[in-house]
Symmetry: C2
Subunit: 919 residues, 2 copies
Amino acid sequence: MSKPSSPRNYVYRFGGKSADGDGSMKPLLGGKGANLAEMTRIGLPVPPGFTITTEVCTYYYQNKKTYPRTLAAQIEKGVAFIEKILGKKFGDQQKSLLVSVRSGARDSMPGMMDTILNLGLNDQTVSALAQSSGNARFAWDCYRRFIQMYGDVVLGVQKRAGEDHEPFETVLHELKHERYHADIEDTKLTVDDLQELVARFKKLIAGRAGGEFPQDPWQQLWGAIGAVFGSWMNDRAVVYRRKYNIPNEWGTAVSVQAMVYGNTGENSGSGVAFTRDPATGEKVFYGEFLINAQGEDVVAGVRTPEPVAQLKSQLPAAFVELENIRAILEGHFRDMQDFEFTIEDGHVFMLQTRNGKRTGLAAVRCAIEMERERLIDWKTAIQRVPANQLDQLLAPVFDRNAVKDARCIARGLPAGPGAASGKMYLNAERAAAAARRGEKVLLVRNETSPEDLRGMIAAEGILTAKGGVSSHAALVARQMGKVCICGASALQIDYAAKTMTVAGDTFQEGDFISINGTFGEVYPGQLKTAASEIVRVLWEKSIAAKDSAAYQMFRQLMDWCARVTNLQVRANADTPEQAAHALAFGAGGIGLCRTEHMFFEGNRIDAMREMILAGEVEDRKKALAKLLPYQKADFIGIFKALNGLPATIRFLDPPLHEFLPNSKEQQLDLASKLNLPVEKVMARVNELHEFNPMLGFRGCRLGLVHPEISEMQSRAIFEAAAEVQTAGIKCKPEIMVPLVGFQKELDLQIEVVHRVAREVMAEKNVKLDYLVGTMIEVPRGALTADEIARTAEFFSFGTNDLTQTCLGMSRDDSGSFLTHYAELEIVRNDPFATIDQTGVGKLMTIAIELGRKTRPDIELGICGEHGGDPESVKFCYRLGLTYVSCSPLRVPVARLAAAQAALEDVAKRPAKKTTHERK
Amino acid sequence: MSKPSSPRNYVYRFGGKSADGDGSMKPLLGGKGANLAEMTRIGLPVPPGFTITTEVCTYYYQNKKTYPRTLAAQIEKGVAFIEKILGKKFGDQQKSLLVSVRSGARDSMPGMMDTILNLGLNDQTVSALAQSSGNARFAWDCYRRFIQMYGDVVLGVQKRAGEDHEPFETVLHELKHERYHADIEDTKLTVDDLQELVARFKKLIAGRAGGEFPQDPWQQLWGAIGAVFGSWMNDRAVVYRRKYNIPNEWGTAVSVQAMVYGNTGENSGSGVAFTRDPATGEKVFYGEFLINAQGEDVVAGVRTPEPVAQLKSQLPAAFVELENIRAILEGHFRDMQDFEFTIEDGHVFMLQTRNGKRTGLAAVRCAIEMERERLIDWKTAIQRVPANQLDQLLAPVFDRNAVKDARCIARGLPAGPGAASGKMYLNAERAAAAARRGEKVLLVRNETSPEDLRGMIAAEGILTAKGGVSSHAALVARQMGKVCICGASALQIDYAAKTMTVAGDTFQEGDFISINGTFGEVYPGQLKTAASEIVRVLWEKSIAAKDSAAYQMFRQLMDWCARVTNLQVRANADTPEQAAHALAFGAGGIGLCRTEHMFFEGNRIDAMREMILAGEVEDRKKALAKLLPYQKADFIGIFKALNGLPATIRFLDPPLHEFLPNSKEQQLDLASKLNLPVEKVMARVNELHEFNPMLGFRGCRLGLVHPEISEMQSRAIFEAAAEVQTAGIKCKPEIMVPLVGFQKELDLQIEVVHRVAREVMAEKNVKLDYLVGTMIEVPRGALTADEIARTAEFFSFGTNDLTQTCLGMSRDDSGSFLTHYAELEIVRNDPFATIDQTGVGKLMTIAIELGRKTRPDIELGICGEHGGDPESVKFCYRLGLTYVSCSPLRVPVARLAAAQAALEDVAKRPAKKTTHERK
């Protein structure tokens, strides 16, 4: 077969041992089409077919749902190609070619778009199929299924408002009711029953679709192609793409492929398998199959399939062939594969393969083990673990004692590891609504379908009564990193009553349940959680490192990460303990030490309140003097824990009213404690009340109006540093002035810092090494960064506040509209979770450019919540920041993201950037 | 006299009929020095002298308070120059030269810096002066005054903490007490008394200054020069410069000038005069003088001076000469002059002239009349009125009836026109503190001094018991545009008791009083105010245009403004009446119509509340349907009033909770009115509560979550437009979507607008001309303006919110630190009054550049409070905006500022920008 030479090729064929396309052409052929071509090329048994490119989809939507002029001729050639290989003919009365028509986007979107099977059947070819298969019942069953699918998907004969069931189901139900009884199984219907059903289906279509079911296979084909392209824009596909940030412009390809049948008898079957266990990453042949069934039956979760290992005894030859295929796939694709197969009369056919979705645990294990097996190198291994999923290894599990005391009320398949508690909801909409109200939610269903996607996104975890590990629920949960249990068959769900009954107990919607997705166990109520294995090794030291396989893998991955990246990861830590935890995870220092947290402990708050209530500077200084020893002690602990690593310490930041009591009772209490009239306390609370505290008297404004506060904090820092340094431990404080918008603000605070530093150095006779810098967290700070950098030795982007001010959006109040914004596609991500690169990122870019203009070597960091978000970390890497800072538990995620960013950067711009690589 | 040719000339001489400098050299010689040179050049009688340049001041502060190397020789030459002209000699025992040493900055800073008179006197020269003047008492009085002044200013012998009086005053007091009685007048002291005083003053200096009073005139001179340069940085000078935005870098010059004496007898005197009345602008010779007194006595307000017209009878020859000088000054400087003169034994000497500070009224009248007199052209006339001062013509006056019923308790000189009420304070600090608490304050003093500046800035008006129209209080009030009455001698002020007693009544600090600065009348309590004359002509039509001279002048000025400027002025108006008012002031349309204001009227609020409380879309639509006719009627009125001018209408903007009642009682009321359970009302209030409403669910977020609101508003606008247009009146609605940060936000709202427009146009069969655009009021909107301009047909900068978000500063909460910020010189102006050009201005610049890149002809406006601030208007002009929008009453101010901006622009960049000029 020669490469097609027409100016624009819309149709790529595959079959025999060759293909027009290959596995690298996913953008053009979709994931499915590209891999069908690739599998054909490497000699795997793939039914012949062709793929219509995604360019046609784009053309279709840009040209009022019409096709390129040359498409029809190319499709005809494609069909002829299949006909030639199989010796069949489309619409032929004897050797009739039947095809499937499937969607396939660049990224897999399981179940989101439409599929048509058995296309080519009509009143004539159904007899040909009956004859060639020697099975009239099979042929008519295929035909009635095809008509139903075509009527639904292509002709739009669907449930209308007021109808309880799908119209085709209603017709089927009526026939069963007339001839047998309502509950008789489909498989019991006779050829005559099926022929009658076909007649009634055709009548239904004629009545509701405004025209006859088309007998012409070509008309059927064009209808099916249009329906698949049309399904690219259906609601659930749009929701899915929004969730996974798949651009609408990508479009879908359409693959037309000769049918093979897993439902021709006991020597046939269909299955879905993984080359390794997608939940744990273990190297076992994993998956499930159904004898005498089509692939759709396996995924649908209606019949519960058998583990793939059972094939060994049931169809040994096919099993051997599949084991062989499994090895070939991994050797070729060098990644864990998720593939679909059909066994037709003992012959194995491959219908799809793709990189398997996996849990975070499995991602780590596959990466580590494949590197050991020399399938991939360590750099590839790093890139194989989605940084966000690393969280799953670090997330809490149920507390061992809590589990011991708890009563397991049901078991199911462990489809998504982890521990989750939440209020149970049986319907996706109600679950999503409850989550919007701020509830923690578990979605419980008999089985899930693409319609449930919104509810699944909103839920902490998913529990189904039916379906296996390759069911929709399992697949989606795995991809989202949700805790999930499938097929917990003991559950009796009553959608109408909104109850779930199990083990004698009945749960109402809104009742708490807990699920352990690692072991597949369901518990009533809210179970207490405990730290992950890795945390127990590193922080609690309750497990020895050598005893934890999970830790060993984690350690290996982190060691690899340490080899690449010049983006440091620091931690947001306010106590010596938090600092130690961060260091255990490989943090390079503290990027944000919030001094105000120190004031809430013990009876420090009293001195803090005394300070706030002081009328005169002198009284304020007295109260501050009481706070000084506490702060100093805190800093001593932190400096010791850091052992010479830098500590970015922020001056007092929050509005003062946060430190005062709100209730009258507490105010009375405080007044008597401080020996003040309660009216004075109330007056001060009142005075400090603000309409928009976020934009009020806080940040450096506190230290500017009351310089004695900054003075005390400077003294605490420098005295602590002097003491620690005298004890032989190095210190590197980086003092950070918050909320700076004007150079002069910073200058005035810096004056205080330098003065106190000189004083302490003279008093203690030590030389201290320190920096003074500022947070860039209001737009004016970013816009005047050239001025601010005159005195600022570093910038730290406070992207939380920068997002609030840049977008004019309060983090605390945006919940009421941000969910709508996501649905309206105004925002792709929650801007408080992932940096808004277009807006906030532009301010950061401006600030960096201006700052470097004044001070080329200025240290640049980020200390907002975004510092632990992989996408944001990668953005920070591209901006050239010195470090990101995040909560201690996110340090590994950030380190992984930073390493991946460096590797991506090297891949994109070889030899441009010197990536620090040690080995 | 030849021009000096040394490489750097620090000393500029004047005397005879020639001078080294001239009037254009104010930056180098200061205002005083330059005009002394200029007056000398045009032949006016100026005592000879020389000016040390401001460059020396700059050098002095940049070089640790030292002088340039060549300065001493130049000063020696300068002194020799004076000696030669007068035939006297510095320090000579017979013909002794005495000089004054005065400061003089580029802009006048009255009373802010130090002055030394009679320099050159010592134990020897005092006798020479006695002999040459034939008046020993005069000579010794000069000497003791010089020693006191020198001791205070140069040697720093000043009041210490714990002392009640200035030390020199104490010594004087003791002597009076010993020899006569405490209250004896200074003029009664004999030569012997004065000699004793000189001895005691010298002793005081020796004791407190740590050294003798210097006898060497050269040492005296250098000491005085240093003191004047030093006074540039004294507290009150710094405060003054901050208030008037005078850069510290300008520095002051020092003028050394031969002394002349107005206190040599009844044939001598000193005065301060204006070429026109600085309060009203009337062309009369205005001012005051004291016979047998030095100039300082006139300004100090200790003796109440006589009107300058009295000179005619007292010293007729001098009066004729002064009248002549007055004419020469105006003819030469072509502006109203404020000059100081001394008459020494019948000879007139000019000591200073400068452009006179004047009230807004006087500024307008002077400008108009000088144009009529052909002293200036109309363009200059426009630039002669400080735009902010135009306000004074438009500001309310006391209500005529209120005044009729009120009891005038005291009268004084009308030194600053206008009406002001406020709480009385007798001390500047307490007045400033009260103003910070939000009180309206009047500062009441016997007389004011530069120390009172902060209190004067804080006060609505100033009332003094002593001093004339050229007293410190009058001068400063005029400059600041404050309402002011001087010399209300009936007032008895008791600083210790903090009371003011007048006409039998005693007022405590904090009591309300009212002052009419136009007529000089003081009233107890808070008087009702009424509209200005111009408002009564244009809005109320209660005065015929021809009967109001003020209106005629105003009209002339506005007509001139209409000739220049391509920056349109629109108004913020929410009702037909406001629109009519704005148009009467020459607005070019409405730049901001806030639709929410319409919802508060009558029982519309009920429907609004019903809408907010609606649970379902359908209920909300029902409530909105009730609001539709109201909104439509409003728009019909506005469109009719505008008669074809554009109306920028903003969609609902404020957070919904602003429409709901807060008190439990009102909530109960509302619940029963709407037939809802009160719990539901309370729950909704609670649900809508926000932590930072400024950054919450408001602006376009409302219309995006509830598109039915935007739909109703669009319909009301278009139905109104259709109706008005059908009636033959053109309409130009410009629909404005608030708070846009993302293009998609605007797109979704624009879809609604266009759809409704199409519907209404089809229903009513009309074609409507409209624009849809957006406010740029969050930084993200500015930063992504290129994207937003894809669909926005105009931008309107909402600089109120843009300032809040750019600076991270809530307008409602920033009071607690913004005053500190002004004192710390972090901000020069209140950023909510005058646009922060560096920060907010940068965002505007970015937005304009990006917006024009996408849509070169995009319409650009501003609708924040800044639209009525002259400095901000000029900034907007330079940015190239299409229009500014402000409250109707500020329209004239904005028009004047816009015209001035255009004229300044033409002056700076001739022929670059085509200024639209009609005549």
